[in-house]
């Protein structure tokens, strides 16, 4: 009865134990890393390391493992790319303590999650909204949906992909609105916008 193509318990583990922390991870990366443009790449690389690590041995505490991995990744990059001052590298050790502080459990209620999803859906363009609706909710095929909307299938697929990527950010608590809220809440811890504390 598996409807997802995801096979194997590792993929399922990754979805349920790691991806659920994406919002917290993104806040952490944004806060610590000086260049906001790198954050998506860092996230991706942390995910890859976590997945490959878990393939060898499943960690007991997935969340700690994720944050520790992200921290080590940033340390590696700081050293390799020499993008930070000596003062800042000394501060690297402070990254150790952040896991629980920076990511208190703040599971959204089902209603809030649904609202986030609905808001993200509303922010899509008209045609992308229609495409998502027809394909995902009404269950039309690509061809049927393309005919219904009078657009080529290739165009429809591009719209669908764009919408899906936007919704993914909403699903994982990563939308700009939530980022803003998360940032405001944590800005009193001595760092802001990724700049080191004095």
């Amino acid at each position: 009865m598996v409807t997802l193509a995801m096979n194997g318990s590792l993929d399922h583990w990754f979805a349920t134990e790691i991806l659920v922390h994406e919002a917290a991870l993104m806040r952490y990366l944004r806060r610590v890393w000086p260049n906001a443009a790198d954050v998506s790449e860092l996230r991706q690389e942390a995910y890859v390391r976590v997945y490959e690590g878990a393939a060898k041995s499943r960690p007991g505490s997935p969340k700690s493992f994720l944050f520790t991995t992200a921290r080590n990744l940033m340390v590696d990059r700081m050293r390799r790319e020499r993008i930070v001052s000596i003062d800042y590298t000394q501060d690297v050790d402070s990254l150790n303590v952040l896991v629980d502080e920076i990511s208190p459990e703040q599971r959204l209620s089902a209603r809030q999650e649904l609202r986030c999803l609905g808001e993200a859906f509303d922010q899509l363009s008209d045609v992308v909204r229609e495409v998502i609706w027809l394909r995902r909710v009404e269950g039309l095929s690509q061809r049927e949906a393309a005919q219904r909307l009078g657009i080529p299938e290739g165009t429809l697929e591009s719209h669908l992909c764009r919408g899906l990527r936007s919704l993914a950010n909403a699903v994982f608590g990563n939308s700009p609105e939530q980022v803003a809220r998360g940032g405001a809440r944590e800005s009193d811890k001595g760092t802001e916008h990724g700049q080191p504390a004095d």
């Binding site: 598996v2 409807t3 919704l167 699903v171």
Partner: protein, 339 residues
Amino acid sequence: MDSQPIEEIAARWVARRYDDAWTDADQVRLEEWLQAATAHRISYIRLETAWSEAARLQALGAGVPAGVAPPRRSWSTTHAMQEVSAGEQDDTAVRRRFGPWLSAAAVLVMAVAGSVLFLAVDRSRGDRYSTPVGGLETVSLGDGSQVTLNTDTRIRVSLRESERHVDLERGEAFFIVAKDRSRPFVVKVGNKSVIAVGTQFSVRRQSNDVQVVVTEGRVNLAPSEGDASHVPTSLDAGAIARTLNAEVLVSEHSASEAVQLLTWRSGFVSFHDTPLAEAVAEFNRYNIHKIVIADASIAGVRIGGNFRSNNADAFLWLLQRGFPIAVEREKERTLLKRR
């Protein structure tokens, strides 16, 4: 490593993976792509999970006509999912509690291939039709009437000169009855009969009790055969009747509301403020792989929304994400526990 192009490709895989045109050869190519780099797999898992989650939009669009996306901001007024603690269930809503167990749905992915309709050769006792768990089938009868069989349903049809006769041996069926005043259309459920001339209605059997939803015309429900003290109950369009032994409980709805309760015909289960225990029982009607509530304290969590009945996985995934519920998959069954 640049994740943007990878994510773009992963999105295209997801779009195609969930399209009708998907082939075994595509599956092989997808597996190859996933194997090629962990970064591919990560992006794919993430977007596929989002795709799964996006099914929740369905719950937000309740009541919206099919074919177009609902207008923006229509979410804010929708109550889609709500949690109420177990102790707060009340009995005031007898009527609304009809909803979930009426509006069953059908077609589990694994059952599609196996949803064979059996037509027995023993004509003397009538034609027999049945569906397996997860099945959903519509058959045309010799008189022009149509029957839609829900999951795990068995009927026997005999078209006699004086009467068109259907035995509902188990399960649930929806009837569109061709008009023929000379031959009433009788659905027998145990010792109860539902009698129609030309109309549309569904009948669900639970043990010897019956629940009838009328969407067009009028039917008579005879609760107890051969008992002179029980006159037939007349049910008009919009009526929902449920028997308990010889008693009949009828609630009146608009015809369009009654139709909403028959979403199983298009493969949906619908819940409105439904206790988890009832929602799980509904999904289990369509599944061989059963869901079991292993902790009584979560049985009363209230669920709302429409779910494609071939997507129990999505239902479980949403439970896990939206509620303090842990999902434990075992080989034979899936356990729900408080987290």
